[in-house]
């Protein structure tokens, strides 16, 4: 556990890193700060603080890949993957069961031949393919030895030699390591080009899977962790939007008084804080009860709360907030995409309701 003065120092260092760098530079800074070690020591502090700050600063990093690899590593059929700082997971550690053999019918280099990554920063060498937009199901589909992939990746994926694709294989879930070069990557521009998201697809990738290999059990856990991490990032972004709108409300004068004196404005900002605190309360609960259902509910509330925050803060910032001269637009863009990763508020909520109707049982309660 990181606590007391250590926690304060850790937070301050991370704040400096997220405020002053983004992308590969932030990855390098996180490596220097020992964030990957912190992730192993105290996942709650490492994830909640970093992702909150990253969201607050509108920064990007490969931290999500780290979280996913950490969640999957001990449980995957391949050898545990070393996280950043340490040498790239040697490709030889990946057992033949999950070696990619051919691409589109053509023989490809066996896994043992995957060159060490030339990527920089944490998690170099191995990345994780994220579920498709709006969803939380494995991005891969493995049938008859052929792998289809429809998912997303963080900005660093293009620099990684190996991509982990979690796939459905009949009634099992398996993890397959494939050379990133065998996947089709599209650098997404979309609503938030600065996020550097990558769209990942593949069809008919031939892979050999040992039918007796243990199924992957870490996926549910990985999804839950990703949802909580993204939830903190959304909350961080929402808090910054609220700060921006609050400062504007205090400074902007109309009708002879600051607009913060108008109750309509005050209540929008109060609504925003309620939405934020509501999501944060459930994120905290998810760390305590470690229930995947709580994590999914928290992600949904964080996504919906961020949309609420964006709506109210945009209204309070009005004209200036609609320009690219003001930073608000960055956050509005970012939260639209983050809401869609590992389950959107809308899809998670509908799925929860469907499940409750089927089981007629509410999620377990965190005891007092």
């Amino acid at each position: 556990m990181i606590d007391g003065a250590d926690l304060e120092l850790f937070t301050r260092s991370l704040r400096h890193a997220t405020d002053s760098s983004t992308g590969a530079a932030l990855d390098a800074a996180l490596d220097d700060l020992g964030w990957p070690d912190a992730l192993a020591d105290d996942p709650r502090a490492a994830v909640s603080i970093l992702f909150g700050l990253q969201g607050g600063a509108n920064a990007t990093s490969s931290a999500l890949d780290h979280v996913l690899l950490a969640a999957l590593a001990p449980l995957t059929p391949f050898a545990p993957l070393e996280l950043g700082g340490s040498p790239v997971a040697p490709a030889t550690a990946i057992p033949p069961a999950s070696n990619p053999l051919e691409l589109g019918g053509n023989p490809v280099a066996p896994a043992t031949a995957i060159p060490p990554s030339s990527g920089v920063g944490v998690g170099a060498g191995v990345g994780v393919v994220l579920p498709a937009l709006g969803g939380w199901h494995p991005p891969g589909d493995l049938r008859g030895g052929r792998l289809a992939v429809a998912g997303l990746g963080t900005a660093g994926l293009a620099h990684r030699a190996t991509a982990i694709v979690v796939a459905r294989a009949g009634d099992k879930t398996v993890a397959v390591a494939v050379p990133t070069a065998s996947l089709t990557l599209r650098a997404v521009q979309g609503v938030d080009p600065e996020l550097g998201l990558i769209e990942v697809t593949a069809d008919g990738l031939i892979v050999a899977v040992d039918p007796d290999a243990d199924p992957l059990t870490g996926w549910t856990n990985a999804v839950a962790l990703a949802q909580v991490a993204l939830g903190h990032e959304l909350v961080g972004a929402s808090r910054t939007m609220l700060d921006l709108a609050r400062i504007h409300a205090l400074e902007r004068v109309q009708f002879g008084r600051p607009i913060s004196a108008f109750q309509a404005v005050r209540h929008r900002l109060a609504e925003t804080l309620v939405a934020i605190e509501m999501a944060e309360a459930l994120l905290d609960a998810a760390w305590l009860d470690q229930s995947p259902q709580t994590a999914a509910m928290a992600k949904a509330l964080a996504g919906r709360g961020a949309r609420t925050a964006a709506r109210h803060c945009q209204q309070v910032l009005a004209g200036i907030g609609f320009t690219t001269e003001h930073p608000l637009h960055r956050y509005v863009r970012r939260i639209l995409v983050l809401d869609q990763l590992y389950g959107a508020a809308q899809s998670l909520t509908a799925a929860l309701g469907t499940e409750l109707i089927a089981t007629r049982q509410l999620p377990p309660l965190l005891p007092l």
């Binding site: 109060a270 609504e271 309360a281 905290d284 409750l356 049982q361």
Partner: protein
Amino acid sequence: MQLDAFRAALDAWLDEHQHDLVPDHAGVGSLDEQMAHLSKVKRLAFDAGWMRWGWPEAVGGLGGSTLLRAYLGEALTARDLVEPGIYSMTEVLAPTMIDYAPAELAAAMVPRLLRGDETWCQGFSEPDTGSNLASLSCRAARTDAGWRVTGQKVWTSLAQYSQRCVLLTRTGTPESAHKGITALFVDMDSPGITVRPIETMHGAPEFSEVFFDGVLVPFDRTLGEEGQGWSVAMDLLPFERSTALWHRAAYLHRRLEQLLGAAPAGSLDAADLGEVTQILYAFRARSRATQHRLDAGERLGPETSIDKVLVATAEQAVYDLVADALPAAVTIGDDPASERWRTGFLYSRAATIYGGSAEIQRNIIARRLLDLGNDR
């Protein structure tokens, strides 16, 4: 006593005494029946010691964490043994007595409330004073014999059952606003008090008008100092927004669970149900954190307005779902089960009114939590 041990022992006791603790009446029952039952449950729980945990020894308690009494209320509510609104009055009024009453008075009175021997009420609102509490005008004049109280309170919950009232009075000039308010602890059988129950929308005469006609209140019944009534009220409100809300979370969870059991196939909208569940669980998570802050000795303040907004939002969301999924129960059913759903639905409409309206909570959040300054 630790919470885990308390929980296990209390659960066992509740299992064992289930038969004595369940209400006799079918459905919601009349308010008279509910009140009689509440007294019985409190007495049994007090005599067995449960009701005393989490309260200071000086007022007849057994000490220990406030989490213990939070759990007691949760357990009683989750088992449908008490109605949370009337049960949780204790959580609102007893802490105020402990903090502000002369020590002997608190020691003499609080055990009666805990044991269910007495009911107390909270006389704040007046015909011309709702949200703007500082404008109250019920007058207490200093005389040689004590305070002479003249004026009127309204919507005073349970006044017609109460032996005592925590009463806010005007002791300063009419313009003194929050500075000229004094809190008194008044015996409801004092000469000059008239109580007239008011019919409410949900069917139970939950509250009353209370008239004070030259009522004499001894000086030693002053809570805090003269002119300190505003602090008494402000310190009471966070209690109204903490443990009582934790009990309410248990109640709403119970109702949502019962709705899942009762709703016919096809009657529940998945997206609505999912959203209501998320809101309820978030409210409960927030309230749980507040309970732990209280236990850690933190002083609760304006941040409990968030809890209050969430409970009102959750309660209305749960019952809006009820109205959609069980329309016949809410609108035309006349059996006990329907009545219970209907009463719950109608009562949920007040969740954004009592204890500081939804708008007042947002004003507090804007002013105190967001530091947006004055609203004019």
